[in-house]
């Protein structure tokens, strides 16, 4: 079974986000990482292998040359090869899903694992768009995944607003990882060294012949209105009174 895992490069989610004098994001202090949800998606692919499926794991990222670092990490985590689709344009889910669809058609995987959302743009769209473009089934926000013995179906538990929903999807399908699907492993040094010999293909986006989708223009970014810290309360009776008042119960 071939599994395609989409990898996005994002600033460490614990980074402080500041704007510079021009109102652009100040990236000077950023540490760049694999989007946490994509790490979980990749870990799940590796676990499918460990559970006895014979899998080839292909990591794909669409970005500039800097993304090699994250794709190398993906190789060290267990991907067999990586594809970097070189694109300098600021990407949004419309165009990224078109490019991923082109990669899908080239690779013909049985399963695509992605993150449920990128922690930078917080769009939560790319996987669903990809599924629609390819007219494939989707199961988003997965917290458990099982692939049938014949590798024709997958059973997915999803974290939804009402609780946990279970779906069965026919493969190939697009599945997105939620936080509780697994806990990604630490990558040990031997794996990093071994990953150096794994193939990393660089592919100009223009060679994929994907359409550019209608997008979104950012006019400006700003910090949200700041809440100021209030006051400390020492006494439980006072706190109870404040709570009662705020809850509208006198």
């Amino acid at each position: 079974m071939k599994i395609l895992v989409a990898i996005k490069r994002v600033p460490d989610p614990y980074s402080k986000i500041r704007l510079d004098a021009d109102g652009q994001i100040d990236e000077s202090d950023f540490t760049w990482v694999i989007n946490p949800f994509d790490e979980i998606a990749l870990e799940e692919a590796v676990r499918l292998r460990e559970r006895g499926h014979t899998v080839e794991i292909v990591a794909v990222g669409i970005g500039d040359a800097e993304w090699e670092a994250q794709l190398k990490t993906a190789l060290a985590m267990g991907a067999d090869r990586a594809i970097l689709v070189l694109d300098d344009e600021p990407a949004d889910p419309g165009s990224v899903s078109e490019l991923l669809a082109a990669v899908f058609r080239r690779e013909q995987p049985d399963l695509v694992l992605m993150g449920k959302q990128a922690t930078d743009d917080d769009y939560n769209q790319t996987a669903q768009r990809l599924a629609a473009l390819l007219e494939l089934s989707q199961a988003t926000f997965a917290s458990a995944l099982e692939v049938s013995g014949d590798e024709k179906r997958a059973t997915v538990t999803r974290e939804v607003d009402a609780g946990r929903e279970t779906l069965e999807v026919s493969l190939p399908a697009i599945i997105t990882a939620d936080l509780r699907l697994n806990e990604p492993r630490y990558v040990a040094l031997p794996a990093i060294l071994k990953a150096r010999s794994k193939p990393l293909e660089r592919l100009p986006a223009s060679e994929l012949g994907a359409r550019k989708a209608a997008g979104v223009a950012i006019i400006k970014m700003e910090a949200p209105p700041r809440r100021s810290a209030g006051r400390r309360v020492q006494d439980v009776d006072e706190l109870a009174g404040l709570i009662r008042a705020a809850a509208g119960r006198s």
Binding site: A132, T140, R158, E168, V216, K220
Partner: protein
């Protein structure tokens, strides 16, 4: 901007309260653009009985797409219906709630119709440059003001950012969409839903939310202390990711960047550190109360009232006083 189809929030059996702010958004959209909106009720055979309740909000039509095949509306099917109803009604734009249902369905329609999509819309406004929107990025660390390319778009709407709709005099027409006229995708089979006990108000709509984190230790303590306090205030219970990860609280209670967004009158955070990801889901609450035994916990930076104390002491005392 083009006419808007509004996908009512639904679980298939019935529409859900999140539809109210969504209609608030739709009224706002219509007022700012002069465009019309239609409301789509999608679900199982019973969904049509609710049509009457949606006729008073100024929609041109209330469209009912009822079918046993939509009893558990999976994204592929719901998207196919939205697409067909957009064709039938002539609506070129689409809005839904930024819920697990909306987030699942809307991007699919956006791709099918080649439309740009804005996730988690918090504001819209007409300016000299056309219609502009605001949405959060980087876990709400930034608010982006954006415009879509073209006249048509798909919008997932942040429920806490819009009020309920106003009633109008003119009643909307009710129209049926015949689901049998389209071929529904069949690649997904709905198996089951394991829903939490539903004895408290909906977390995203509640006016009081009592939230807790990892220090609540176990599910029993969480329910006894946070559930107990919430019940005295008629509120809902929320949780941090850490609490959910450690099995203290069920996933549907997670508040934050990757959980639910809430903005109640009162948010009580007990044993919550105040990570940026958690704040993303609750910092628009009217009044925030924090109880934390670390005086330097970041949650105090956003709290109106903070108490440095052990929650195991304070919460039982509060429960006592609020009886």
């Amino acid at each position: 901007m083009s006419d808007l189809l509004v996908l009512a929030e639904t679980d298939g059996a019935q529409t859900l309260p999140g539809t109210q702010p969504l209609l608030g958004f739709a009224q706002r959209y219509a007022a700012e653009t002069g465009a019309d909106f239609d409301v789509l009720l999608l679900g199982g055979t019973e969904i049509g009985v609710e049509a009457e309740a949606y006729r008073q909000f100024g929609a041109r039509r209330v469209v009912v797409a009822a079918s046993p095949d939509l009893q558990h509306p999976t994204a592929d099917r719901a998207a196919a219906v939205c697409e067909a109803v957009m064709r039938q009604t002539g609506c070129q734009s689409l809005a839904g709630l930024s819920s697990s249902f909306g987030r699942d369905v809307l991007p699919r329609v956006a791709a099918r119709r080649d439309l740009p999509m804005l996730s988690d819309v918090m504001r819209l406004e007409k300016t000299g440059d056309g219609l502009i929107f605001q949405r959060p990025m980087y876990a709400g660390s930034l608010i982006a003001t954006v415009r879509i390319e073209g006249e048509d778009g798909v919008f997932s709407v942040r429920g806490t950012a819009f009020g309920p709709p106003e009633s109008v005099e003119k009643t909307s027409e009710v129209e049926a969409f015949d689901v049998a006229t389209i071929t529904l995708p069949g690649g997904v089979t709905w198996i089951s839903l394991e829903a939490g006990a539903n004895k408290r108000p909906d977390l995203t709509m509640a006016s009081v939310v009592v939230s807790g984190g990892r220090p609540l230790r176990d599910a029993e303590t969480f329910e006894r202390l946070l559930g107990g306090l919430a019940d005295r205030l008629g509120g809902a219970v929320g949780a941090t990711r850490a609490a959910v990860d450690s099995g203290i609280a069920p996933n549907e209670l997670q508040v934050g960047q990757t959980g639910k967004t809430v903005a109640p009158q009162l948010y009580i955070a007990a044993g919550v550190s105040g990570s940026i990801q958690h704040l993303a889901g609750m910092k628009d609450s009217k009044v925030i109360v924090a109880i934390n035994n670390d005086p330097d916990a970041p949650i105090f930076e956003v709290a109106d009232y903070g108490m440095v104390a052990d929650l195991n002491d304070v919460i039982p005392q509060l429960m006592d006083r609020l009886n």
